[in-house]
Symmetry: C2
Subunit: 322 residues, 2 copies
């Protein structure tokens, strides 16, 4: 039901050059890619003399402070709205509804993008939106200085699990090489991004390990976190992202599932699969979407109901001829 006009990098530049008072929108529960890609574009546009700011429904985690993002403070009236790394309108969050419903341009790498924006630059083969944003900035002749290089590296590294996930390509590594040459201090960044777990994050991991269960002869591992359990750890939403990789990383597991109860009571379900098993098919049958190896959906009802529903879809996927 997409009504977005698909445009190329040249046309993106034409529109950005013309635009004034630009608002860049991140997705809610912001990750390194939506933040890093927005930050890189923010700096590039600012250097062109544009009035520009970044807006996100949720706070930017303080560990990303090094990106020096200028957050939107209402001091100008946005005239051109760009969504960065946002696959669907429901991912903006209520706090930015006012702007998200009039998105002029979307820059994204999710093949599942719903086409809600007026125009879209989409590259589903890019491991991260930051990988695509690197091309945009190069086409713009923007200076890739150490600050911009670190913003882009953050996006590329976080969306690939530090070059470990199946979305990593030769191009991903080639971009990383260019960003390091441009001055990104990746030893410092990797330490911030991957070696700096909060105590509450560890408590969440411990909980996920305690609640781990195996299904279908160990081909599926599933863990769950209720809102009471999450509250007891003192975990922030950000702390919860990392645990979704735990079940799939177990020997013999083809589908890993994590159920996290939201404050409203519903269950947010993350599905991770090995190559050959389709996470997005599992999520799509439950009203969600995503990538082949990483997808998600949200279900109402009890934990047992949510588990039954997702396990039925997991079984269907495991039985499918691959």
């Amino acid at each position: 039901m997409s009504c977005a006009e698909t445009i190329d990098v040249t046309e993106v530049l034409t529109r950005l050059y013309k635009a004034e008072n630009i608002l860049l929108l991140c997705h809610k529960n912001p990750d390194g890619d939506t933040i890093g890609s927005s930050a890189a574009l923010y700096h590039a546009l600012k250097r062109l003399g544009k009035t520009v700011a970044v807006l996100c429904a949720d706070p930017i985690p303080p560990r990303y402070d090094y990106m020096q993002i200028g957050l939107f403070d209402g001091s100008f009236e946005p005239a051109y709205v760009v969504a960065v790394d946002v696959a669907g309108i429901q991912l903006f969050g209520d706090a930015v509804r006012e702007y998200s419903e009039r998105t002029d341009l979307c820059i994204d790498h999710h093949p599942s993008n719903t086409g809600y924006a007026d125009a879209i630059l989409l590259d589903g083969s890019a491991a991260a939106t930051a990988e695509l944003m690197y091309d945009v900035l190069c086409a713009m002749n923007a200076e890739i200085d150490p600050l911009v290089a670190e913003c882009l590296y953050t996006g590329v590294a976080t969306d690939t699990g530090c070059f470990k996930f199946a979305n990593t390509t030769a191009r991903t590594h080639a971009v990383a090489a260019k960003l390091i040459e441009a001055g990104a201090d990746v030893a410092r960044l990797n330490s911030i991004l991957f070696e700096n777990k909060s105590r509450s994050r560890l408590a969440v991991e411990q909980l996920a390990l305690e609640n781990l269960e195996y299904h279908f002869d160990g081909r599926c591992a599933l863990t769950h976190l209720t809102k009471e359990e999450i509250a007891a750890t003192g975990a922030e939403p950000d702390d919860l992202e990392g645990v979704t990789g735990i079940p799939r990383a177990i020997e013999g597991v083809e589908v890993g599932v994590t159920l996290r109860q939201q404050p409203t009571g519903s269950y947010k379900i993350s599905v991770r699969t090995v190559l050959g098993k389709d996470a997005s098919a599992i999520a799509a049958h439950l009203g969600g979407g995503g990538h082949k190896q990483a997808a998600g959906c949200e279900l109402l009802g009890s934990l047992e109901n949510a588990k039954s529903a997702v396990l039925a879809e997991v079984e269907r996927e495991l039985c499918r001829e691959s």
Copy 2:
């Protein structure tokens, strides 16, 4: 006390082209770099029509079977011995003593290489020996087919913790990009190398998290595993290595300590530090040694005594002006 002649890639090729009946030696407790670099050179030399084989004091872990290494079976008399990724003679292991004491050539990236070989090709700036081996094979005009690319990728990826450690450079990523272009199936390899935790490994992690304690205002995190606890998880020695990184990776922690009780009852202590704190100083005061950021020692006595002894040294290091 080095007596090795330092040679360049061209001279390495001259000698390898002349050599016959070539034996490639790995270091003991072989890792992905010594195995992957040896395997790549093995395939390249074999395609030149050479008689060549690989020898290691310890078994090659079965997860590396995809490299199709030809192990030395005594069917030829080695006339030219090449050590790959072996920094010192003590790292060969007793089982290969006969050959290791007459090493003609060493190809390595450890700046600490003792220079025990007759000739050495050393690049201390390479993140892995495999990064240097890539240059050797390119100079040789060896075909970097998918098999060879996967051998080299294994070395590069494992020695950098999948591009996360501080040794990772632009060149490391550039080589990874070339290897993927050459056909390395890195999604499959990363899954084998980094996403394949045994259930007993997870049980050990869970235990380490349960036993975690903080000292000195959270600047030191310490965990311990008794031999009874380890036995209950069914863990192999290999499963225990990974947990030593857990305490140091916690926000605010400068020194991470892991105490693992040995079957004999003594405690093996692993010390990991952030930049600026010296793990080897802590370990050295307790009769051990190692690197600045990773060191170890072994203490007899009760858990409480071992903890007290190491915490006293941690406190001394934390109080030292850095």
